[in-house]
Every structure is written in structure tokens, then in C-alpha cells.
Subunit: 342 residues, 2 copies
């Protein structure tokens, strides 16, 4: 019935990324990518009392924007796949609880958008769902409280630290015949190289990204030059350098094609963000704001989107554990192509 | 290509629950279900230093037991779906990081086993995966620290409180032709009736269970008497009573068919567990230890397994938020049946 190369899956009736939406905070809106987002919210509380409620409200608004863009009501969705970084994924469950739509909670840390796209596209390709939304978010202040220190402690940030983006992205995956298409997916394998520094997450995630990207290239017999861009989630400056060395060991030079959403999001020189942006919303918002429009127009023909997640918890870091990483990959294409990517 | 009734999905080539494994702690082993589990561990630390590490170790052992029972090595798995209650799902990611198998993190609180079975069975039915493992766990001590108070505070428990089970369950979902089969699935919709008491989770989850069970019965045109048992996850005594009232409002009397894993797990009179057991591992271990063997032998022909999750976080409870519930449903059958359940 279908071409398949475990654990990379090529879709025979590639689903469409039919619509998308993105929301970011003030700082992200002031950065170099500020031009591309649907909503820039100046109020970091999003009109709510707590940071966690603010993040839920951001997801709610991003979903609302997705439905407006798609011209749909929520009851025409067959399912929502969503997750986030806050304890027990409450930004998603609380932000979307009003929806009255089947809800599938996922957790892939900052790789959540890619994990959701992977599961949604299999369910759509298989004919189980006609329309599924994939959402994720992160908020600087809820993440700092969750993973490091409450902001009011005034803790100093290390040079290799990243800045959790206040951002959310949403994608509608459907069985329509409209570019861009999801042509292939590759589920991540947990990789743990023993990094124990919660301020150096790029290094913790780079091995997982290198592994997933290399496995997809191996399985499909493609080369980095076959793609316009190979996107990673939020490796930042430090993790990106490590990624080049690790993929080189697998025989692939990807530096020319590579872009990292964490590096793209901020201008360190003026925004003091150190190694770059991070958070589930970082790669999700840039995917929706920047890459998907270029894939629809045909400016980009093929991209690999390898979102990256650091599977840490503050408690296990305090217990001295290392930080496992994971990276799920989505191959987007302007064409649904019976002529396959070389 | 397939019969389908949104949002309930009937599988045309029903996947097999080909193997399973369960692990529980000492207290669960001493309860009325103690006879049915694969592993009863007397040491609540599972040989580890912290409660979180203990829970990860329990998942690792449960996976090991699953592979032994199935006669497989881990590299013959195409994917693992796993999640748990601990912050950022680390019991799963840390417990399974040694596996070298594609990992899909899920979060459905105590409905996690059903959510994982739903996603795994769609991926197997669709031909994307041949063999997928679904795992979850909970640990009394990591959950108390996570959701309520560290044990050493000696906090008193309320009469409607439930006891988080130290337990783990694992199911292997494959495309083999061997009972029991997964015949249908129904994804949960988040339901929030405004319960704000983290000690009364049965009440928070009952509306979601009533909703999902009723939707599946509606969509399939079946009645409660068509099933040997209708299983819920961990509603406990309080939540079960509420479930009967709510399903009655939808026109279904399920009290005769209904069993709740939380009620089954402990004997309150001798074990002082109040309203019953809870936790992801509660329904997962009883499904694996008790229900799946009876479905394989044919003693049970059809059951509905509606695991239930309270999507709370301690932080949002402290912020005064209510507790949304969710329930995902799996229809297991002894027959893969072209003759469908009436």
C-alpha cells in the first residue's frame, strides 16, 4: 500500500498544510523575524493574571486566528494535537478546553510542533481524520519559572543560555490538494550525550537533530543540496556548530542549507538574547510565519523541518541527571509529487 | 476505504494487542488484584535514589518484561508511545532513553494508556508501523510530591481522595492476527465542570468518561449490554456514582457492565485508600494484568476501556483554576470480526 522505510515514513497521499497562524510577544515582534507573524501582542500577560494563564490565552488566540485564516468553525476539526512546556501541558489543555474537539495531548518539549505534524499527517494520510489542527506555545516567563528561576529573583544568564520565546504556532493539516504538502516524516529517537547544564540546551539537543536528519537523508537517498533549507528548532549558536560536526561524521555537510529558528528569532547584538531563542513556540511560529508561506508560493520547493526538544525537567536536573534530546522531522514540499524528491 | 464515524473510528484491519506486561508496588500487590500482575516490587525505590528515578526504573523494567513476553528485542519495535504524570513526562523519557527506538511522547494524564493505544492502533492499522509499544506509569511518592505535598509533610488525606498507584503497564500493538483486537477507538474531548478540588479528581473526570462512552455507543449503535465490561480508569467510588447519573442522562444505563480500575485496585476497608486508586499506572496495569488475558482466552468477548485523565497541574490549582478532564476509549474484542459487534 505505501512506500516505507522504518522509521522514516513517506506519505503516498501527502496531506496539505492547508492553513497556519502565529502569535508572538513584544520582544519577538521587535526582532529580525517580526515582519512575518500574524499577531504581535504587546502585553506579555495577554490580559491575564498569571504567566501560565497568559500562555493559555496565547494558544487560544492562535487557534482562533487559524480558524479565521482557514475560514472554518472549530466543529469542522476532527482533532487537535497540542502540547507545551508547562507542567502537565496545561497551556494547551486550558487554552483549548473550550473547543469541543477531540484532543490528543503530546509532549516533545520544543519538538512538539514536529511531533504533532507527524501524528496528524499519518492520521490524515490514513483516512482517519480529514482535518486536524496542531498547536504549541511557549512563554518566556512561564518557562523561566518552570525550568529555572522566577523572574523576580533577577538571576544572571550565562553566555550559552537561550531565551525562551513568547510565541505560538498552529497548523491545519488536511486531505486537500493544496501546497505545501507533508511528503515524509521521521520520528525522533531519544539521544543523551550526558549534558547536565540546563543553560546549554543547544548542546543537549544537537545529537538528536543530527541523528534524525541523517536518518532521513539515509532512508530517502537524498542529499542536503536536494532541499532549499534544512531547518532546526532551537539549537541556537552553540548547538548549530555542534550539529555541523555531528552530521559531517555521518557524511553530510549541511551548513549551507541549515537555518535554526532559535538563531533567526533574535538579534543578539541589540536584544541581549545570548545563544538564541528557544521554546516550543520558537520553531512553531517561524515555521508558520516564514517557511510555510514560502513553500506555498513556490519560492521554496522542499524543506526539512527538524524541531528539537530538550527532555529535561527541573527536578531531574536538580537530581544531577543529564538532559536527553529528541528531534522529529517533517519534509514539506511545494509539490505533492508523483515525481519524488531526488 | 474504511468505516468511520467522527470522532469515533472503527478499524478495518483491527490491530492486535499481541503482548503486555505489568509492574506494581507492594501495596498494589497486597490488594485484591495482586494475583494478576507480572512483577510486584517490594522496594518502593526500585533500587534508585529518588522517587522520580524509581518511576523511570519501573517503566524500564515493564518494557523489559514486555519484550521478554513478546520474545522480541527492542530493535524490532517501530515506535514507542509513552507518557506519565511527572513534570515534562520524564518517567517515560528517562526510563526509555536507552531503547534506541523512535519515541513519541504523549500526555493524557491518567488516560495516557488509552491515548497511546489509540494513536498506536491507527498507525498500525494504516500500515505505517508494524509493531508499536505503549507504556505508562505512576508512582505514589512522585505523584504526591508532584501534585500535592511531599510525603514527609505528613499531610492528612480527605475522604474522597484517591491513592496514586505505584504501577506501570505496557502493551504491544501489532498487525498480527491474534486476539485481542482493537476494533474501535474514540478520542476524548476536554470536559470541565468547574471542579477545583485536587482531592476530588473522580468528579473532575466523570463528565469526560460519560461523554466519550456515550459518543462511542451513539456512533456504533451499540448498547451497554453488548459489552462484557465497560471499564473506566480511575474514577474511584465518588466519580463512578457520578458517571452513572451522567450516562443515564444520555440514555444509557451502564452500572451493571461498569468496572472502575481505581475501585478494583485496593480494598479500602483494610488498605485505607479512601475513594480508590488513581494514576496512569492504575488502569494500565489492570488492563494488562486482568482484562487483556480474559480477552485473549475468550472469557470476555468485548470490552470498552475508557481511561480517564484529570488534566490538572499543581500550579494552576494554586491559581484557582478548575480541573478539566479527558477520557479516550478503546474497544477491545476477542474477535477481529467481520461480523461486527451488534
Amino acid at each position: 500500500m505505501m512506500e516505507q522505510s522504518h522509521p522514516c515514513i513517506l506519505l503516498n497521499r501527502p496531506p496539505s498544510a492547508a492553513a497556519w497562524a502565529s502569535t508572538v510577544g513584544k520582544k519577538e515582534g521587535e526582532g529580525p523575524m517580526g515582519f512575518c507573524f500574524d499577531i504581535i501582542e504587546e502585553d506579555s500577560h495577554f490580559g491575564q493574571k498569571t504567566w501560565e494563564q497568559a500562555e493559555s490565552e496565547m494558544q487560544r488566540r492562535t487557534m482562533q486566528q487559524l480558524l479565521i485564516t482557514a475560514g472554518l468553525k472549530s466543529d469542522s476539526l476532527d482533532a487537535v494535537f497540542a502540547g507545551d512546556l508547562v507542567n502537565q501541558c496545561t497551556s494547551s489543555t486550558f487554552g483549548l478546553r473550550h473547543l469541543d474537539v477531540p484532543f490528543l495531548g503530546i509532549y516533545g518539549a520544543c519538538s512538539t510542533m514536529a511531533e504533532g505534524l507527524l501524528l496528524a499527517s499519518l492520521c490524515v494520510d490514513g483516512g482517519y481524520l480529514n482535518r486536524a489542527a496542531v498547536l504549541t506555545s511557549s512563554h518566556f516567563s512561564s518557562a523561566e519559572r518552570q525550568f529555572r528561576f522566577p523572574l523576580s529573583y533577577g538571576a544572571q544568564r550565562t553566555p550559552n543560555a537561550q531565551w525562551t520565546c513568547t510565541a505560538s504556532g498552529a497548523v491545519l493539516v488536511t486531505n486537500e490538494d493544496r501546497p505545501p504538502y507533508i511528503r515524509g516524516v521521521c520520528a525522533g529517537i531519544v539521544r543523551d550525550y550526558g549534558i547536565t547544564d540546563a543553560n546549554n540546551m543547544g548542546a543537549a539537543m544537537a545529537p538528536a537533530a543530527a541523528d534524525t536528519i541523517s536518518r532521513y537523508l539515509d532512508a530517502t537517498g537524498t542529499r542536503p543540496v536536494d532541499y532549499d533549507v534544512i531547518v532546526t528548532g532551537d539549537l541556537g549558536v552553540v548547538g548549530s556548530r555542534l550539529l555541523y560536526r555531528l552530521t559531517e561524521q555521518n557524511g553530510y555537510e549541511i551548513a549551507k542549507q541549515h537555518k535554526d529558528c532559535g538563531v533567526m528569532m533574535f538579534d543578539d547584538a541589540t536584544q541581549d538574547t545570548h545563544a538564541g531563542g528557544s521554546g516550543c513556540g520558537c520553531s512553531a511560529s517561524i515555521l508558520c510565519g516564514y517557511f510555510l508561506p514560502k513553500l506555498r508560493s513556490g519560492e521554496y520547493r522542499n524543506i526539512l523541518f527538524a524541531a528539537t526538544g530538550a527532555l529535561l525537567s527541573p527536578m531531574l536536573c536538580q537530581q544531577g541527571e543529564s538532559i536527553p534530546g529528541i528531534s522529529h522531522l517533517i519534509h514539506f514540499s511545494h509539490s505533492s509529487g508523483k515525481e519524488r524528491t531526488k
